[in-house]
C-alpha cells in the first residue's frame, strides 16, 4: 500500500453519496503531480458495490471494511477503522468530500493519527513536493493557502462541486483488501434510531440548480411559484435567513453564513436583497440570476443576469417558458 494519495468514500445507507466521487477527481489531480496511484478506503455495511465502483473510476486499490456494526455512520467505530488502517499505511494525503460525516471522521481520527486536517478545499496544488490546499475563510471573503507542518497523512475534505465527478470506465478492477472492524457494538456510545428525510424534495447539498426565495416572497405560500420553477428545472429550493426566521420554510433550506454553503451551476435569487451573510453561502455559484423589485439591491452586484420586477410575475412566466422549452 504505497500509494501517496488515498480517498475516503462517503456513503449513506450503502450508497456512495452524489459528491463522494468528486474526491477521486481531486485525488487524481494530486496523484499526477506526486506520482503513484490511488487507494480508496470504504467503510460501511453492504458496501462491496462501492468498492467495485471505485475501480471503475480508476482507483487501483480498495481497502474495504464491511460489517453489520458499521451500518450507520457513527464517528467512533468508523474513526477506529480509519485510524488503524491509515496508521499502518501513512500515505501523504487522504481526501474525502466535505460532508458532515467526513468532517467528523477526519477530525476525530486526526487526534489518534496526530496529523492535520484541512476542510472545505476549493483548490489543490503541489509546490516543492508539499500539498497546498486553498480554502475560503471568513465566510468566503478571504482565501487561505494551507499546508501540513507535521504529521502524515494530511486529511483534506473538498467542498461539494469544487471538483467535477470523475469519468467512469467499465470493467476495470484492482486489488481488494478486507479489514475487520475495530470496535464492538458495546464500545460505541451512540445508537441511531431513525431518519426523518424530507420527502420529494431535492436537497440543497450538491444541487446543480437552486431557486431561492427571500423576504420578498411575502409568506409561506410565496414559495409555491419558486417550487414550481425548481420542479421544472429539476432543482432545489433555497431561502434567505429572513424567510427562514419568519417561519415560511424550514431551516434546512437556508443558504448563507449560518445556513448552507452551496455552489450550483445556476442560482436564481428571488426577492433576496443579497446581504453579505447571504452572499457567503452562494457567491461561488456559476451563474447567478437575481429577480428583485429594487434596482439597487446588492444582489445585482453579484448577478450575471438581473431582472428588475415583481417575482410573482416573472417566476411563473419563467416556469411556463421552461415547461415549453423542456417539453414538460
Amino acid at each position: 500500500m504505497a500509494n501517496p494519495v488515498w480517498v475516503y468514500v462517503d456513503q449513506f445507507k450503502g450508497q456512495a453519496t452524489p459528491s463522494a466521487w468528486e474526491a477521486v477527481t481531486a485525488a487524481k489531480s494530486l496523484a499526477e503531480k506526486l506520482g503513484g496511484g490511488i487507494t480508496a478506503l470504504v467503510v460501511g455495511n453492504g458496501v462491496e458495490g462501492i468498492a467495485q465502483q471505485a475501480f471503475e473510476y480508476g482507483v487501483e486499490e480498495v481497502v474495504l471494511c464491511d460489517d453489520p456494526s458499521l451500518l450507520d455512520f457513527r464517528v467512533e467505530p468508523y474513526a477506529a477503522v480509519f485510524a488503524k488502517v491509515l496508521a499502518e499505511a501513512r500515505p501523504k494525503v487522504v481526501i474525502g468530500t466535505a460532508s458532515t460525516r467526513v468532517r467528523d471522521l477526519f477530525a476525530y481520527a486526526s487526534i489518534d493519527l496526530e496529523c492535520g486536517v484541512i476542510v472545505d478545499a476549493t483548490g489543490l496544488d503541489v509546490r516543492d513536493g508539499s500539498v497546498i490546499v486553498t480554502r475560503p475563510v471568513y465566510a468566503g471573503k478571504l482565501l487561505c493557502n494551507e499546508m501540513a507542518k507535521k504529521g502524515e497523512p494530511l486529511l483534506i475534505t473538498v467542498r461539494v462541486r469544487a471538483f467535477p465527478a470523475p469519468q467512469g470506465g467499465v470493467g476495470k478492477s484492482g486489488t481488494l483488501t478486507r479489514v475487520a472492524p475495530v470496535l464492538t457494538e458495546d464500545q460505541v456510545p451512540t445508537k441511531v434510531l431513525d431518519y426523518v428525510v424530507e420527502e420529494g424534495e431535492v436537497s440543497l447539498d450538491g444541487a446543480a440548480i437552486i431557486v431561492s426565495g427571500g423576504r420578498g416572497v411575502n409568506g409561506p405560500e410565496g414559495f409555491e411559484p419558486l417550487r414550481a420553477l425548481a420542479k421544472v428545472l429539476g432543482g432545489a429550493v433555497g431561502a434567505s435567513r429572513a424567510a427562514v426566521d419568519a417561519g415560511w420554510i424550514p431551516y434546512s433550506h437556508q443558504v448563507g453564513q449560518t445556513g448552507k454553503v452551496v455552489s450550483p451551476d445556476l442560482y436564481i435569487a428571488c426577492g433576496i436583497s443579497g446581504a453579505v451573510q447571504h452572499q457567503a453561502g452562494m457567491r461561488t455559484s456559476k451563474v447567478i440570476v437575481a429577480i428583485n423589485k429594487d434596482k439597487d439591491a446588492p444582489i445585482f452586484n453579484l448577478a450575471k443576469y438581473g431582472v428588475v420586477g415583481d417575482l410573482f410575475e416573472i417566476v411563473p412566466a419563467l416556469t411556463e417558458e421552461f415547461k415549453r422549452r423542456l417539453g414538460k
Binding site: F12, E76, T100, R103, D104, Y108, I111, D112, E114, G116, V117, I118, V119, P136, V137, Y138, K141, L142, L143, C144, N145, M147, A148, K149, K150, G151, P189, T190, K191, L193, Y195, V196, V197, S203, D205, A208, L233, Q257, T258, G259, D265, L266, V276, V287, V289, A290, F300, A303, K304, Y305, G306, V307, G309, I314, P316, A317, E320, E321, R325, L326
Partner: protein
Amino acid sequence: MNIVVCVKQVPDTAAKLQVVDSHVTWGDSPLIVNPWDEYAYEEALLLKEKHGGRAVAITMGPESAIEALKTCLAVGCDEAYLITDPVLKGSDAPATALTLAKAIQKLGEVDLVLLGKQAIDGDTGLTPAMLGRHLGWTVLTQVIKIQDLDPAARTIRVERLLEEGRQVCTARLPAVVSVIKGINEPRYPSFMGIRKASKATIPTWGVNDLGVDPGRVGAAGAFVAWPEIYMMPVKETKVEWIEGSTPQEIAAKLADKLIAEKVI
C-alpha cells in the same frame, strides 16, 4: 447537570476585513460572540432551567475575549473562565481542542459540553469532534434538537441535521454536542445581567494551570500552517439587465441566455 459552554470571540460578520502581509485585520469593527455559540449558551441555560445544575462558559483567546465571557454571564451562565497565554497564539483546531479538554477536566464533574457548529472566522467546524476525542466522550455534532436528556440514566436523545435529513439518535453521557441554528432562539442579556457580569470576577488560566505542554499548542504545536491569506478575487461580473414589456418576453429572453450558458 453540569454543563460547559465553549464560546469563541470573532469579528462581526459585517466587518470590513483587510489583509496585510497575510494577517487579517478588521479595523475598529466590534468583536462578537461567534453566532453559532449563542445557540450553545441558550441551550445550556434551557437545560439548566429544566434539570438544575450550573452552566460554565469557557473561552480560549486573547485577553479581549473576556468580553465574550461577560456576554455569557449576562445571559445567565453561572461562571466563566478565560484561557489565555502568549504560547497559545497561532493554535490550530487540535491545539484548541486539547486546551479546552484540559480546562474541562480541571472543572471536574461535567455531564455535557456544548459548542457552536463552527467559528465564523476560520470556518473549520473541527473543534467539537476533536474535543470529544481528547476527552474520550460521546460526540454529537449538528444537533438541531435535544429531544430528551436523562441525567439519572446518563443518556441523551437528539436530532442531528445531516445532508440526507434529520437523524434521531440516543447516546451516553458525558457528551460533547455541537449545535446549529433552529435549536432555540438565543435570549438577549438583561440590564440586570449586564450589571452583574460587569462586576463578576473571571478567573484566568494559562497553559501551566492546565498542565498543557507548550510544545503541543500555539504555532509550535500546529499540524497545519496557513502562510498565505488574501482577499477573494472579485469576479468582474457586470450584471446584464434582462428587460421586456411583458413578463413573458423577459422570461423568453432569460431562458435563451440560460440555455446558451449550458446551465439548464
